[in-house]
């Protein structure tokens, strides 16, 4: 589904990301772990063509992301609050995204209904603009918006950060459900090893921009990762 070849990103002579070859299969639930500055967000930004690669290329479902825009129709992402429109209410935001992805109001409403539990009654009909929400609630809006329009690739950067324990638990359930669907490829990055191990069937660890581990999740994975990061 997604392939990165000879990919590297260099800022003023410092290489922040260097991936020789990485292939993510269709239907895979892919977890990206690493410390701050390991290159997780850089990788996602390159994948979404928000920054230009210094060398190499990323191919998303046969489309080279920096040449074609066709990948946009099947890819949904939430990296940070710059993916939200602050002056809209959550409903307006969802319908707007729905419009862009060819979903009508009824489709969006059905989806929102499905994730009502995740919102915990704090999002819909709250009479608040997104900009006035807490960070955690903003994140809820952003995450659910990525699910609108049945995307084939879902990219979430640090989805667990800022969420309360209950919501983290519910989010894990949602991601696992998505992961079980063989049509959907989920990419999640996190600092939190436990969360990532729970929701992913493949984990890649980055350190200083390079892949240092690439493992299929098993019962020993968490231990292995913890050993690796406990320096």
């Amino acid at each position: 589904m997604i392939q990165a070849k000879n990919l590297s990103k260099t800022y003023n002579g410092t290489t922040v990301l260097k991936i020789d070859n990485l292939e993510i299969q269709k239907g895979e639930s892919f977890g990206l772990v690493g410390n701050n500055g390991a290159g997780k967000t850089t990788f996602f930004s390159l994948l979404l063509d928000l920054i230009q690669p210094s060398t190499g290329e990323i191919i998303n479902n046969d489309f080279r992301v920096d040449h074609s825009e066709s990948w946009k129709s099947h890819t949904a992402s939430f990296l940070d609050e710059s993916f939200l429109i602050g002056y809209l209410t959550p409903e307006e935001y969802f319908y707007f995204i729905g419009d862009l992805r060819g979903q009508n109001k009824a489709d969006v409403d059905a989806l929102l209904q499905k994730y009502e539990e995740f919102f915990n009654g704090e999002i819909l009909n709250s009479k608040k603009y997104i900009r006035d929400f807490s960070k955690g609630n903003q994140k809820k809006v952003g995450i659910i918006a990525t699910l609108i329009g049945n995307p084939k690739v879902i990219i979430l950067d640090e989805p667990f950060a800022n969420l309360d324990p209950t919501t983290q638990f519910r989010l894990k359930k949602i991601i696992k459900e998505l992961a079980d669907n063989p049509e959907i490829t989920v990419l999640v990055s996190s600092h939190d090893l436990l969360h990532t191990v729970e929701v992913s069937n493949r984990i890649v660890a980055l350190q200083k921009g390079e892949i240092v581990k690439d493992i299929q999740t098993s019962s020993e994975t968490l231990e292995e990762l913890e050993r690796f990061f406990a320096v």
Binding site: F83, L84, E92, F96, D99, R101, K128
Partner: protein, 484 residues
């Protein structure tokens, strides 16, 4: 320190260097004007009116200060303090507040008065006025300048005040003009008193000190995240504008643009500006100012009357969407639809302005024709130019510029005006050529023709802008990441 770093390290500093230089020129221009006024006014009044210049100056001082306050309310920015992070650092609150207030005192809006009062006072001294009195008067005037400075800070939260002041100044001016009520009869006593009565200068000085204390206390009290530095939460209502659904993608974006304008202070000023521009033409068409009363200037005004929204909103496309540009770039967005919606918004605003501007019919059909032709040109040519220019604009727009006491509140500034100027020159020249070489009607027809021609090229221009958007994508994303 922090402020300096933020200034030098922002992307707009480098990209807008040319603009900065232009602004410096404007500043110099005003400086020279004030300087000339300061020196010249004395001899001018003496020669032309044969009155004591000091008395005349004192007489009109009330307008000088009212006008100054008005300009400040509108243009002067309260320095954006990156104050939140300072709060938890071991810096005394009083130091923070004093620094912030001190910074406003060094503003151009205060310094510029130097160039009037200092030379004027020197001229007075040379002409043999009493030395102590001149110095005391001078001190009094300076105190009043700074009184305005602090008044501006205190009043800054209230936008309607600006209108009150406009009405006040216009009202007083009209009444004086028609000899109904002369406010200067009363106020000049005070200003003249500053010169005649020693010790009266203490009044403005005391007022100044008191105002400083009030401002200081106000900020000391409000220096918490949940009061002065907090953002106000308004009750939100979901608005669907379902009637716009019939317009497809254009409708989708148009909905958002309407919400954008309605819900953000920064964008609301564009509406306010369009109204202000609407009346700007009065200066030209009401034959009030002689140098404005010629055909070239009339065309100039004609463009302005209906172009307020176009100029103030248009040139910040796509910057209005800067806060969520990454979202826009990762969604499956047709650029054409996006541009189209902004274009329609501009067209609708221009059309409404044209209808409202029909009160110019009072000055004759010809005048209104100029305005209509100006609107045609605005829709046909300027709307494209402004979107084209916007494609290169990489200054992120902070929509939530109402961040309480220390926020960056003044959305409209000189810069905005300056970028707009070239768009006015072309129609003026075209009109001028037609007017002087053939006849006035030909001039109008030529400008209208240019507008229609521009309209015909719309698709070409949009494709072109689309290309720029794509080519500039990474740079734009990068620039928008840095706020402010």
């Amino acid at each position: 320190m922090l402020e300096w770093k933020a200034f030098f390290r922002s992307a707009s500093f480098r990209t807008n260097l040319a603009l900065k230089i232009l602004m410096i020129f404007v500043a110099i221009y005003f400086t020279v004007i004030f300087l000339a006024m300061g020196i010249g006014v004395f001899f001018l009044i003496k020669k032309e009116m044969d009155l004591d210049p000091l008395i005349v100056v004192n007489r009109f001082m009330i307008y000088y200060f009212l006008f100054d306050l008005m300009m400040r309310l509108f243009l002067q920015k309260i320095p954006v303090m990156n104050i939140r992070p300072l709060l938890t650092l071991p810096i005394k609150k009083s130091t923070i507040v004093n620094f912030a207030l001190g910074k406003t005192m060094l503003s151009f809006f205060n310094i510029v008065h130097c160039f009037f009062f200092v030379p004027f006072s020197i001229v007075l001294l040379i002409q043999g006025y009493d030395v102590t009195s001149v110095i005391l008067w001078h001190i009094g005037m300076w105190s009043l300048v700074y009184v305005n400075n602090f008044l501006n800070i205190l009043l800054n939260n209230k936008d309607y005040l600006f209108f009150i002041f406009i009405v006040l100044v216009l009202g007083l001016g009209t009444m004086q003009y028609y000899d109904l009520f002369d406010v200067t009869d009363y106020t000049s006593v005070f200003y003249q008193g500053l010169f005649d009565t020693k010790y009266l200068f203490l009044v403005p000085v005391v007022v100044l000190i008191a105002l400083y204390a009030i401002t200081y206390n106000y900020f000391m009290k409000n220096l918490h995240l949940d009061t002065g530095l907090s953002s106000k939460h308004s009750i939100a209502k979901t608005e669907q504008f379902t009637w716009l659904d019939q317009f497809g993608t254009v409708g989708t974006f148009l909905k958002n643009d309407i919400r954008l304008i309605k819900r953000n202070k920064r964008s609301k000023t564009t509406i306010f500006m369009s109204v202000l521009f609407l009346f700007y033409g009065l200066l030209f068409f009401a034959s009030g100012i002689e140098s404005y009363d010629n055909p070239m200037m009339h065309m100039f005004a004609g463009i302005f009357v209906t172009g307020g929204f176009l100029f103030t909103f248009g040139q910040f496309v796509p910057s209005w969407d800067s806060a969520y540009y990454p979202l826009m770039m990762t969604q499956n967005i047709p650029y054409k639809g996006y541009l189209n919606s902004k274009w329609w918004l501009i067209v609708i605003a221009t059309a409404i302005s044209t209808v409202v501007a029909s009160f110019y019919l009072y000055f004759g059909l010809e005048i209104y024709l100029i305005i209509v032709v100006g609107a045609v040109y605005n829709i046909g040519v300027n709307s494209h130019l402004v979107l084209l220019g916007g494609a290169y604009t990489k200054t992120p727009v902070d929509l939530n510029s109402t961040k309480g006491a220390f926020g960056d509140k003044k959305a409209f500034n000189l810069k905005t005006m300056l970028i707009s100027l070239p768009k006015l020159l072309l129609p003026v020249i075209i009109y001028g050529l037609g007017y002087y070489l053939i006849n006035p009607m030909t001039g109008l027809a030529l400008v209208a023709l240019a507008g229609v021609l521009g309209f015909a090229l719309r698709n070409k221009v949009f494709t072109w802008i689309e290309k720029i958007y794509k080519a500039e994508k990474y740079k734009t994303l990068d620039a928008y990441k840095q706020k402010g």
